[in-house]
C-alpha cells in the first residue's frame, strides 16, 4: 500500500512538472541558451529536467515557431542556441498569467478547504 501511494505520488508529481516544462523553457530562453546550458540552468533553479525530454521539446517548440534556433560555430564545440520569438514571448506571457491564476486558485483552495 505504501509502495502504491509512493508510485501514485511519483506519477502525479511527474504530470504536474511536465505541464510546467514548456513555460519554463520559454521563460528561460528569453536569454539565448543552448540545450545543455538550459538543462543546467533549469536544474539550478529547482526544475530538474532530463536531456532526452528537453531536447526533443526544444525542437518541437522551434517547429511551432515559439523558439528560434541558430548554430553558433564560433566556439570550438558548435552549439545550437535557442531564443524566444515574438510569438513565443506572447505565449510565455500567457502561460505565466495562467500559472499565477492557478497558483492563486490553489492557495484559495488550501485556505478555504482545510
Amino acid at each position: 500500500m505504501k509502495d502504491e501511494l509512493a508510485s501514485a505520488l511519483a506519477t502525479h508529481r511527474q504530470e504536474l512538472r511536465r505541464g510546467t516544462l514548456v513555460a519554463a523553457c520559454l521563460m528561460a530562453c528569453r536569454t539565448p541558451r543552448y540545450g545543455y546550458a538550459l538543462l543546467e540552468y533549469l536544474g539550478s533553479v529547482g526544475l530538474e529536467a532530463e536531456a532526452n525530454t528537453l531536447y526533443p521539446l526544444l525542437r518541437r517548440l522551434e517547429g511551432q515557431g515559439l523558439l528560434r534556433a541558430e548554430w553558433n560555430t564560433d566556439e570550438p564545440r558548435p552549439r545550437k542556441y535557442y531564443s524566444l520569438t515574438e510569438a513565443g514571448a506572447e505565449i510565455a506571457a500567457e502561460l505565466r498569467e495562467e500559472w499565477m491564476r492557478l497558483s492563486t486558485s490553489l492557495a484559495t483552495l488550501w485556505k478555504e478547504s482545510p
Binding site: 532530463e50 536531456a51 531536447y55
Partner: protein, 323 residues
C-alpha cells in the same frame, strides 16, 4: 567522439526523417560531449562517463520516437471510442457472414454432411476472417491516428460515435434498446428451431439407428409439426413487430405472455401424448435404457422453466415501461 557514441547517435537518427538527421546528430554530439565533460570533471574515467551518458539518454529508438513525437500507443484516447464502436459493428457482421458462407459452402460441396466435419471445415476460416477483420480495422485506425491531420481526427472522433444526450438515460430508450437486441436473438433462435423437425440423423452420427431419417417422428406432420411452425411464425412476427416499432409496448407484452403459456401447453401436450423422437431412435436408445417416463418428465420441467423465464422477462419489460 568515440565509436560507441557515434553508433548511438546513428541509431537515433536512423529512426528519423532524412531532413532532420544531420541537425539532430550535431546537437546530440554537442550534448553527449557536454554531459561527458561534466562527469569527467567530477572525477569519472572516460569509458565510465561515456557509458553513463548514453544510459541516461536511454534507448535510441525511444529517444527518436520522442523527437518524432509519434504516439507511443496503438489507438489513442481520442479515437478509441470510435475504434471500439467500429469493432462492435464490424466483427459480429464478419463472424455472421463468414459463418453463413462457410456453412453454405460446406453444405453445397459435401454430399452427406456431418456436424463434426462441418465444425472442422468452418471453424478455421471463420477464426481467420475474425482475426483479419480485427487486424485490418486496428491497422486502419493506427494509420489514421498517425497520418491524419488533427482536424480530421477530431471530426472522426465526433462523428464516429453515437451522439449522446441526457435523453439516452430515459428508461424507455434503454428498454427499447434491450427489446430490440432480444428481438434479433429471438429471430436467430426461430431460424434454428425451424430446422429441428427436418434435421437428419446423419448430422449427429446416429444415422444408423433410423436409416438416415430425421430425429423428429415424421408421423407428426398430420397436425403437430405444422402447429409448431405456426407457433414459430407467431414468435418471429412478434420479434419483427418489436424491431419495426423500435421497442415494445404493453399490448405486445400481453401477446408475448399469452404465446408463452400457449407454447408451454402445446409442448407439454406434445411430449405427453405423442412420440416426438423418431420411433426407430426411440427404441434404439431410450427404451433400452428404460428411461422414457423420466425423460418425458424432464422435458415438461424444461418446457415450463423456459416459459417461466420468458414470463419473468415480460414482467420486467412491463415494469420498465413508463406508466
Amino acid at each position: 567522439m568515440s565509436a560507441l557514441t557515434r553508433r548511438y547517435i546513428d541509431q537515433v537518427t536512423a529512426h528519423l526523417p532524412d531532413g532532420q538527421r544531420g541537425d539532430i546528430a550535431r546537437e546530440l554530439e554537442a550534448l553527449t560531449a557536454d554531459m561527458t565533460e561534466e562527469r569527467l570533471a567530477a572525477g569519472a574515467d572516460a569509458p565510465t562517463a561515456e557509458r553513463e551518458v548514453l544510459e541516461e539518454l536511454g534507448d535510441p529508438a525511444r529517444l527518436a520516437a520522442t523527437y518524432r513525437s509519434t504516439p507511443a500507443y496503438l489507438i489513442g484516447p481520442e479515437l478509441y471510442p470510435v475504434y471500439v464502436r467500429a469493432l462492435q459493428w464490424i466483427l459480429p457482421l464478419v463472424l455472421l457472414v463468414a459463418l453463413v458462407v462457410n456453412i453454405v459452402v460446406y453444405s453445397a460441396t459435401e454430399p452427406s454432411g456431418q456436424l463434426g466435419a462441418m465444425i472442422g471445415a468452418v471453424v478455421g476460416p471463420v477464426v481467420t476472417a475474425f482475426l483479419v477483420a480485427l487486424g485490418t480495422v486496428t491497422a486502419l485506425f493506427w494509420l489514421f491516428e498517425r497520418f491524419a491531420s488533427s482536424a480530421d481526427r477530431r471530426t472522426l472522433a465526433r462523428d464516429g460515435t453515437r451522439a449522446w444526450s441526457v435523453d439516452a438515460l430515459e428508461t424507455d430508450v434503454v428498454q427499447a434498446r434491450d427489446a430490440q437486441s432480444e428481438a434479433v436473438v429471438n429471430l436467430v433462435f426461430v431460424a434454428m428451431l425451424a430446422f429441428v423437425p427436418v434435421l437428419p440423423t446423419t448430422f449427429l452420427y446416429v444415422g444408423h439407428l433410423n436409416g438416415d431419417g430425421s430425429f423428429v417422428n415424421q408421423g407428426l406432420w398430420d397436425f403437430w409439426i405444422p402447429a409448431y411452425y405456426v407457433l414459430l411464425a407467431v414468435v418471429a412476427a412478434q420479434a419483427v413487430w418489436t424491431l419495426v416499432r423500435r421497442g415494445t409496448s404493453r399490448p405486445q407484452i400481453v401477446v408475448r405472455a399469452v404465446t408463452d403459456v400457449a407454447a408451454a401447453v402445446f409442448f407439454t401436450a406434445l411430449v405427453l401424448t405423442q412420440e416426438v423422437i423418431d420411433p426407430a431412435i426411440d427404441s434404439g436408445i431410450l427404451q433400452t435404457s428404460g428411461g422414457e417416463d423420466w425423460v418425458d418428465a424432464l422435458y415438461v420441467v424444461v418446457i415450463w422453466l423456459v416459459a417461466a423465464w420468458d414470463l419473468y422477462m415480460c414482467w420486467k419489460y412491463w415494469r420498465s415501461l413508463p406508466s
